[in-house]
Symmetry: C2
Subunit: 166 residues, 2 copies
């Protein structure tokens, strides 16, 4: 159900992706980016990109990449998107759990989200349930499409104990 994303998967997912960025409620991505720019950002820059396939339909996708270089490369960063019509099925949870397994396989020590929009309560609560902590608040960090400037959160989960990663 979860496998690596192909170029053709991305093409069928583009309508979801462009809807998400145009809404300007969750991602700090240019709402006017082209499909090629989005493919580069979502599938080429990251280490790995996966899709969640439900009855043959690409219902969700996520990427995983290092959050920094060199002395910051032990923490990874992920981003998740789910199609509107596939909400409420636990797809984000399944992708996040899968991403944590992948992160461990890829030898990351922790996972960090750099800007979780505070008004995206479903996401904030889900990440908290899955063990992520709010470790910082960026005041007015996000210009929400409907609500104007709202805070965003830095969220973090340690995936290995210090004794393992020291």
């Amino acid at each position: 159900m979860i496998r690596e994303m192909t170029k053709s998967d991305f093409e069928s997912f583009w309508s979801v992706f462009s809807g998400v960025i145009q809404a300007q409620e969750t991602y700090a991505f240019d709402p006017d980016m082209t499909s090629d720019e989005a493919y580069h950002l979502w599938c080429e820059i990251p280490l790995k990109t996966y899709v969640f396939v439900d009855n043959g339909v690409v219902s969700g996708s996520y990427y995983i990449k290092p959050n920094g270089m060199g002395p910051g490369k032990h923490i990874c960063n992920c981003g998740y998107m789910v199609a509107d019509e596939a909400r409420g099925k636990g797809i984000a949870r399944k992708m996040c759990e899968h991403s944590q397994q992948q992160a461990r396989l890829l030898n990351f020590d922790a996972m960090q989200f750099n800007s979780v929009v505070s008004t995206n309560e479903v996401a904030v609560q889900l990440w908290q349930k899955l063990g992520f902590n709010i470790i910082g608040t960026i005041p007015k960090g996000y210009k929400h499409g409907k609500l104007g400037y709202v805070d965003s959160y830095v969220m973090h989960k340690q995936l290995r104990t210090h004794s393992e990663c020291l």
Copy 2:
């Protein structure tokens, strides 16, 4: 004394830059990156890159760029480097003050540093004196060349009041 960086400035600054990244005490950059990769990262990706020139010598440099895209593009990010032999002359302070002026001219509302290494006390204290707040702590966010895993800070300064940016 502060002007835009040229390719030739970067070449004369490269020995400072490579020393900084090889020490692995401040930047989350690959310590083994080439001069071309560093030029791309420091001078091509950012919006603007400046040098601090002291008696004809490039003693410091900084870049400014948006910290996010689309709904996150109102906050900028900067990085500063000063040559070892030019420390204690207030060059970092002068560059940070200059960068805040540039940020306002470029219409940014705030400035954010994503990973200030907690053991870099001179920098942390200088940014605090210049009005930056620690808005988050990334546990063991940085693998220090001498000290192993240490915390890093997210630091932030609002440059315009909310009424101006709403």
